[in-house]
Symmetry: C2
Subunit: 748 residues, 2 copies
């Protein structure tokens, strides 16, 4: 046996970064600007084993080191020799405790294994353990209602003869089955799993994905396929944001006007809710509902204006932003209503927690309502924050009566807040730590706002308990985990998957894997593999890209449009709405909807340019790649003109087409200067930089993400003479410094 055993636990961590919250219309998120920052420590984490490569290496050879494609990375991995062949005689045996949930999980694994290998696999379990390729051994069922107490750990060992998955609970077994599928490799001799020993368990017990179905309704199949994807990356909480100003999405049998008048007919029946809860439980996933109050409640007030803090009438909100309507916290009727409604929901949703939102209520209706003002005076409530605290206390009592624990956005934090409430932080780990010190449990979403269109690398480095935490180990236990938040302003059933995936897999790794697993380039390598595997589950993040581009191009040959779309990204934060206002009834079929966050092509280009410049003064490394790419941009910009002429839906993209041409030209000319070793004039440089600055401005709520690298090329071409009097490394640093920081591309 060769291979070494590495246990990854706490001591090795990355340098943290101070985060600056910035408020943008809706929610905030901490933002880190070093998009491609490298971790200080390249870990000796055992994701490189010795054997044949799967899916990445250019050729096969036993001497080529293999790279495992596990995501999230397990707690510990020990490599072993051996190769377990996967062929059509593959069989699973179950030992110890087994139930329908485990058998269904095994059946799903078999379907995916068969789909990926194109092997007809036996549908039945092996009667005899010795005849099985995989033995699954669980001790007990796990929690009846998925909860924070769930034991999700498992051990998985692969030898020449058999794979053995051992877990205390069925949920741990399900987690291990996902790892098993990720271990599948192939070469000339067929499919196999390489010898390995994995011990795995999550770092945090709360690993969630919020899906906002209030702003845009998402059909059942969207939720189901996203639950499948969550299970694939070991997330365990669906935070179902069910009510918003723009829609009330759950059937209430006690107050049917809520969903009939508040949803445009787009709501989940209680049967459907139960179907989702069962589907999630089958995958070891909790379903926590959110009923956002007292703000974000316009859709409630459409049918019950008497609960509002202003007389109404109210209409379903169609815009994006923060709106004034809020429940009236001073009237007993409000609490009577909430007691009845939340009681109904408490019976419907078995999860121990109920999220009451509590965010972004600016209290404008309260300020203008004389009764509310009188109430505050009478009770000695000094401001709106205190009034909301009063409201929260009342709601907390209602939830306690219905045996639910309260969780809310961090606005609910207030000296009077009881200690069993959970704080959901959108401001950052610092405020979460503050709450923890005061004894509150909390989860982090700051840094995981996937609707802000930041790259996975940025979310990946946001840690609920950063390296520089001042929390004691005891206090740190209050940090339960985190949640990625898919706010729903600009997602449709066609586009939501591409906003959630694959980036959320990187967040899932942050919440499951040891803190020191932070190698960004290895994360991206694995993310690309996992992204393809997610397609097996019906996810559309990849395939709808081509579809949306075909629709826009109104022609079959979308190659030029794909070329453009591959190096632009939707503007970050909440600038999209400012630059390109739409309503909740607008189609989400524009180029900004087709374009995706975190361009892989751009990442490749950035790395190609860096390698090319590092090869000074030869400038041969990656030159053909670079020239081909730049020429492709130039060709695309030429072909796009006539395409835009024919497709009015693309006309907003015309400036992007012109800028693509300028970018390509600047890059090609610079490359030509560099490879010829003839310096560009400063006049040429300044002209090009001016054009690049222009091109860096967003258009159609889209921005190029390759500008800095092209700036580098342009500056380098003019800096050629300096190369004679310095080392290439120093010269490169100089060029890099001159080329950055880029112009503020996201500002409209």
């Amino acid at each position: 046996m060769r291979g070494d055993y590495v246990t990854i636990s706490d001591p090795i961590v990355l340098p943290g970064k101070a985060t600056q919250p910035s408020k943008k219309g809706g929610k905030l998120a901490s933002m880190k600007t070093d998009k491609y920052s490298k971790p200080a420590l390249i870990l000796a984490y055992v994701l490189s084993l010795a054997s044949a490569a799967y899916g990445q290496a250019p050729a096969l050879n036993d001497a080529v080191p293999v790279q495992l494609n596990l995501m999230p990375a397990p707690f510990s991995v020990e490599t072993q020799t051996g190769r377990l062949a996967i062929n059509s005689s593959f069989k699973v045996a179950v030992r110890g405790y087994a139930d329908d949930r485990l058998r269904a999980g095994i059946a799903r694994m078999l379907t995916r294994l068969a789909g990926r290998t194109v092997l007809t696999l036996p549908a039945d379990l092996a009667a005899d353990e010795s005849a099985a390729t995989l033995v699954v051994q669980c001790e007990r069922p796990g929690e009846v209602i998925p909860s924070l107490d769930e034991n999700e750990s498992y051990n998985l060992e692969i030898t020449d003869k058999q794979a053995r998955l051992v877990a205390p609970t069925v949920v741990g077994g399900l987690r291990g089955l996902e790892t098993f599928l990720q271990l599948l490799q192939g070469d000339r001799d067929g499919y196999y799993l390489a010898g390995i020993r994995i011990k795995d368990q999550p770092r945090f017990p709360w690993r969630g994905l919020l899906i906002d179905v209030g702003r845009h309704y998402e059909p059942m199949e969207v939720l189901k396929r996203n639950l499948d994807a969550m299970a694939a990356v070991k997330l365990n909480v669906l935070h179902w944001h069910l009510t918003e100003d723009q829609g009330f999405r759950v059937e209430s049998k006690k107050f049917p006007k809520l969903h009939t008048l508040g949803s445009d007919g787009l709501f989940y029946t209680q049967d459907e809710v139960r179907e989702i809860i069962a589907y999630a439980r089958d995958r070891g996933i909790r379903v926590m509902p959110e009923f956002d109050i007292p703000g974000h409640s316009t859709s409630w007030l459409v049918s019950y204006p008497e609960l509002g803090s202003a007389p109404g009438p109210y209409k379903i909100e169609r815009g994006a932003g923060i709106f004034e309507p809020a429940l009236d916290p001073t009237r007993e009727q409000t609490y009577k209503f909430l007691d009845s409604f939340l009681g109904e929901m408490a019976s419907l949703f078995p999860d121990a927690y109920m999220h009451i939102g509590g965010d972004e209520n600016e209290g404008k209706q309260w300020d203008r309502n004389p009764q509310i003002q009188a109430f505050m005076k009478e009770k000695g409530i000094k401001d709106n924050h205190a009034l909301q605290a009063y409201f929260n206390q009342r709601v907390l009592k209602i939830l306690q009566k219905h045996h639910k624990k309260m969780i809310g956005w961090e606005e609910i934090l207030h000296p009077d807040l009881p200690k069993d409430a959970v704080i959901h932080s959108w401001r950052g780990p610092a405020s979460l730590a503050e709450a923890a010190k005061r004894g509150y449990n909390g989860i982090l979403s700051a840094g995981y706002y996937i609707d802000l269109i930041f790259p996975a690398s940025q979310h990946y480095l946001a840690d609920p308990i950063p390296r520089d935490t001042t929390l004691t180990p005891e206090e740190a236990k209050h940090i339960l985990g985190g949640e990625a938040t898919m706010w729903g302003e600009w997602v449709s059933p066609e586009t939501i998957d591409s906003r959630i995936w694959p980036r959320t897999a990187a967040i899932a790794e942050r919440l499951w894997s040891p803190r020191n697993v932070t190698d960004i380039s290895d994360m991206y390598r694995r993310l690309s593999v996992i992204s393809r595997q997610l397609e097996e589950l019906g996810l559309t993040h990849e395939k709808n890209y081509g579809m949306l581009l075909r629709r826009l191009a109104a022609t079959e040959n979308t190659i030029p449009l794909r070329t453009l779309a591959s190096i632009i990204e939707p503007v970050k934060e909440y600038h999209r709405y400012q630059m390109r206002p739409q309503t909740m009834l607008s189609p989400l079929t524009g180029l900004v909807d087709a374009a995706r966050p975190d361009s892989e092509t751009a990442r490749q280009f950035v790395s190609d340019v860096d390698a090319f410049l590092s090869d000074a003064p030869r400038f041969a490394l990656n030159r053909p790649n670079l020239e081909r790419t730049l020429a492709e941009w130039q060709n695309a910009s030429r072909a796009l003109g006539p395409m835009v002429d024919r497709s009015p839906a693309l006309q907003e993209a015309r400036p992007l087409v012109n800028n693509l041409s300028a970018i390509a030209e600047a890059g090609l000319e610079a490359t030509s200067y560099l490879t010829a070793g003839s310096a560009a004039t400063t006049q040429w440089r300044d002209t090009q930089l001016a054009r690049l600055n222009e091109a860096a401005k967003p258009n159609a709520a889209l921005e190029f993400v390759v500008i800095t690298s092209v700036r580098k090329l342009v500056i380098a071409a003019a800096e050629l003479p300096q190369l004679r009097s310095t080392t290439p490394v120093e010269w490169n640093n100089r060029v890099t410094t001159m080329a950055s920081p880029p112009p503020p591309a996201t500002k409209p």
Copy 2:
């Protein structure tokens, strides 16, 4: 006003072709071998108007003639001047009769219009007709239960000022809304509809799509999106093939063991059936169920073996083919059961017709059962065909009792068959005509067997009443229409759309449009546009292609695999199963499942080669295209080697990769001889032809569809000297003759 008015009716028709039925395992289909045969008459059908081009022309110019993208082509089209702008103030007004069905249809049209144009359109109907862009005017609701009596006609007029859709029924209105959407064009000035006057009505009242959910279950969303697609091309019958040897897919409350034991849990609840019926009705589509008896009934006998003609026990069939189990037609218990079950189904399905299958019962169980033999002797029933006729008569009485008309596959035709039974022909128009002469109504499916993987062109020319029909006009009225048949042996929810679409749109045109609309190249031009529009409805025929290839390639760069897949097609007829046996439990994720019928790339190559050779002796026309394509094949074959090494699922494709290399090399060398004007030796030619013959053999149930054209190039290269002594046209004919017929590529 410019433009001419052309009414297309019966007299202009195409030369027919004798069809040869050939039995292949399951169903039969008439086959025509002239894949790219041209119609004898190029019709003066007004699909070419004067104005700007949409989606096809390389540049825009008012002088370029526009080509309309209507499919199915309307009964008559009159062009007008004028341009109706489509912008964000687009509004629809309703005049005359309106109901929820019409309003829902308008809402769906608006959603698609918005999605395609990226315009935020007003959701409400215009109160004032004069403010509306489109006025929809219906007289009455149409049939309560969609039926053969439905009036589906409509008139649509577009002027500068307004679009006006007038129809006697809401269903005609729905048909017109689809035409309206197909008329959308775009140019630099935005979206618009060109002035036009359309009068439209179907040629046949029965235009169906059979979906076999027995062999493979298809989830609700698959049925729904296919109903949407059917509506888009004006099909009006979903023939729901609900029971098969391999699965009993409908809930029976009277006999619940039927679906619980016979379906692997994959069946439609009665609520779901009602949901599909309502969904279809909303789109003016009938839902006709099929319960295939007495054969094809293994799944029934799993729970009721006592109804079988052999003792059992029975298991759900997993194979493909014709199986022996058949109901026992001699026992009263069988009819009692059918009376009860079909009675239940008659209440569930409101359609006037019920399909009882009746096909492919070979009677082997009957032959071996002494009681059945004794019964036949006693009753004077002389053979199995007569016994089945007896059975059919009994079933007919049961259906009559439950107020249903019987329809069955043409095996049910028998002297004793009552005249109100409908004959469903899979043998061809001749047998249908024969039935019509005997006074039976009938529909055609021979020629529309889309599971046989033939090109759309072939289905397109199959006519229920061919030009050479001997039917009198009175007799011809018995021909009600036809149905495309999606038999389910080798389709999964991931692949079924690509087997149905876009080819079924060509069949829809055959059944709706005048008989003389038969220009194949114009059909393909429009089919390509319609295919993209079908994606708006969630259809996956295009987007799952890339997904399946990504999964197989196990890498992101699927370009070489796409290149290969673009010129191979699954083997035709029922050879797939012979060449590559699988069961109903096998994954349908192989290269044969990714590859699609009717390769557009191959069609383009065939036409490029023909143009190139027609340019003898210059050989300049299309030369760059041809060389680029052939070089791409060569590059792909090189890149595919390592890809296949890494992906065992692709290893069955290794011979295809080698053959791709041979094809590319032969083509490139031949092109090089031709353009250099230097003749190839006969030895070279024979070597190449031998390699091409080898390459023409199917592998992995896939075959190249460009071989004949490469043969042409090779032969032409060797025939160069003959060019001096003959005209280029004669020379070309000679080369073409020598190159064809191709070797029998589909024979294993």
